[in-house]
């Protein structure tokens, strides 16, 4: 009798195990489903225009963005692409030295409480909502830029880049720190035993050894900057214009989509061109993340 009882219990246990396994598998697979669903919906909205009448040459090569013009609608996204590019490049010029410097400090030079406190604060920085960043750009950085550079408006590439730079720092620090932490301590010990100072160890051993991981950290920061919307919408001045200086106002691809999508008629060319922009953004971030991923795995086998 005891035997029969334990047999049913084993069967129940097995069934339970099976259900949990399936549920967890579903969670895992759902991420893939969502990604493909997003790609599908974006491209579905973009496709009729993308493959039916859009002048790709004009889209990528002309700065004339007049989607509302009654007589002559033009969809040249060059100024928007230039806007995104300029803000991102300048943001990285700010974020890379700060982010990697902070990663090196946290991983190699700080100890104990300082280290823990820094990590918590940097995580906190990552949690600031982007609309709050935009607000800071609007009310804090804007007047500072006007004062310092003596310009008419402080909502420009520099402002947006500054915000995006700060927003990308946390991810660079956390991925960069992981990359440095992954370098075996025996390398540090070997170099220090040969009389190298901490900075020499960092510069000549750790940075080359962690190169792939640090590259990934930078690229993930780039991905963050390219895709950011609200802060740049608020801080860059909203002017469709190819910038010639960091003090020019611009408009990014993301800001354009956010600002205009609500005003378009569903199914119109204007509506669809915004999805084409979205698809382009998607492609850019996809490539950046892919390269970052390959870099993390290490293209060159060790």
């Amino acid at each position: 009798m005891a035997k029969g009882w334990s047999k049913t219990r084993a069967q129940v246990e097995r069934a339970k195990e099976r259900v949990i396994e399936l549920a967890i598998a579903a969670c895992g697979i759902s991420a893939v489903v969502f990604v493909f669903a997003i790609i599908y919906f974006v491209f579905r909205e973009a496709a009729p225009l993308l493959f039916g009448g859009l002048d790709i040459g004009q889209f990528l090569g002309s700065p004339e963005w007049y989607p509302d013009s009654v007589s002559n609608k033009r969809y040249g996204a060059l100024a928007l692409i230039a806007g995104t590019l300029s803000v991102t490049v300048l943001a990285m010029a700010i974020a890379v030295p700060f982010g990697l410097g902070a990663a090196i400090y946290v991983s190699e030079f700080s100890h104990g409480r300082t280290k823990e406190a820094l990590k918590v604060v940097i995580e906190l920085l990552a949690g600031v909502p982007s609309v709050v960043w935009g607000f800071i750009g609007l009310v804090v950085i804007n007047p500072i830029i006007i004062d310092v550079f003596n310009t008419a408006v402080g909502l420009n590439v520099l402002n947006g880049a500054f915000l995006l730079g700060l927003m990308s720092v946390p991810i660079m620090v956390s991925i960069g720190e992981d990359a440095l932490k992954a370098v075996p301590d025996t390398y540090r010990e070997a170099a220090e035993a040969m009389g190298a100072t901490k900075w020499q160890v960092t510069w000549r051993v750790l940075l080359p050894a962690a190169r792939n991981g640090l590259l990934a950290a930078v690229l993930l920061g780039v991905g963050r900057a390219v895709g950011e919307t609200m802060a740049v919408l608020m801080a860059t001045g909203h002017a469709v214009h190819i910038p010639t200086s960091p003090l020019d106002s611009v408009r990014t691809m993301t800001a354009t989509i956010a600002a205009e999508l609500g005003e378009t008629a569903k199914g119109s060319d204007h509506y669809r061109i915004l999805f084409v922009l979205g698809a382009l953004l998607f492609a850019i971030t996809f490539v950046v993340n892919l390269v970052a991923d390959v870099a993390i795995r290490g293209v060159r086998k060790r």
């Binding site: 070997a190 035993a193 040969m194 009389g195 080359p208 050894a209």
Partner: protein
């Protein structure tokens, strides 16, 4: 002449936070000889070795007390330059640990580190690389692979490279922490030959678990137990006529 005094330690105590790893160590290691440090695991022989170039200080919570003199200089004096100390006292580790750089850059790493001002000319570097690799007997094998990553070499070559990279700095002392424990017997034999070849020019202190090895390569032996030096005499005396009962018991394999 004080030249016979390679390393002296007096009343040397060391704590890892609360744990006392060395207790009143007094010793005098003669210059130019190979001295073996033997004893069971946890007896403090590696800790003692790591006091001689102050690499112990990397670990948080280490406290050292007492005096260590290398060639007559107190290395725990506040005025001591760690960089210069580590130039004069090289270290070889248990696991070969070449840096993830090319063979050439590994040999030149220390040289470049110690010459922050003037840069190293190409020909000067080439000479140093060849001389060092010849010295440890891997020049013929590696001369065409100087740009390969050092971490891709065989373990034996890696360990010999780790010895070679110390030589351009003309150190006076070489500290070796179980340098053969990751190697197979034939590689071990060749590294031991190398150690014998370096004998006389450098003061070599070698930590080993392998008593047969201590017997083969060392001139003098120090037996340690529970953080204390028990016996320090000529190697054949330690092995053939140990004076302390604990040494005798360890050497005959009754514990350890």
């Amino acid at each position: 002449m004080t030249a016979t005094k390679g390393i002296t330690a007096s009343r040397l105590n060391l704590w890892y936070t609360k744990f006392r790893a060395l207790t009143g160590v007094d010793l005098e290691i003669r210059h130019g000889l190979v001295t073996g440090l033997i004893g069971p695991s946890g007896c403090g022989k590696t800790t003692l070795l790591r006091c001689f170039n102050r690499i112990n200080e990397r670990i948080a919570g280490v406290r050292t007390e007492g005096k260590v003199e290398i060639l007559g200089e107190d290395i725990y004096a506040p005025s001591v330059d760690l960089v210069e100390l580590r130039r004069r006292v090289g270290m070889v580790f248990q696991r070969p640990n070449p840096l993830p750089l090319s063979v050439r850059d590994n040999v030149l790493f220390a040289l470049r580190t110690h010459r922050s001002g003037g840069s190293l000319s190409r020909s000067e570097g080439d000479l140093a690389v060849e001389a060092s690799l010849r010295e440890v007997g891997v020049w013929e094998a590696l001369r065409d692979r100087l740009d390969r990553r050092a971490t891709e070499l065989s373990l034996e070559q890696q360990q010999k490279l780790c010895i070679a990279r110390l030589l351009p700095l003309q150190p006076e002392i070489l500290l070796m922490d179980e340098p053969c424990s990751a190697l197979d017997p034939s590689a071990t034999q060749r590294v031991e030959e190398l150690i014998r070849k370096l004998r006389g020019r450098y003061t070599i202190v070698i930590v080993t678990h392998n008593m047969a090895q201590a017997r083969r390569v060392s001139d003098e032996c120090i037996f340690m137990l529970l953080g204390e030096v028990i016996e320090h005499r000529r190697t054949e005396d330690v092995f053939l006529a140990p004076q302390d009962e604990r040494t005798a018991n360890y050497i005959e394999g009754r514990f350890g």
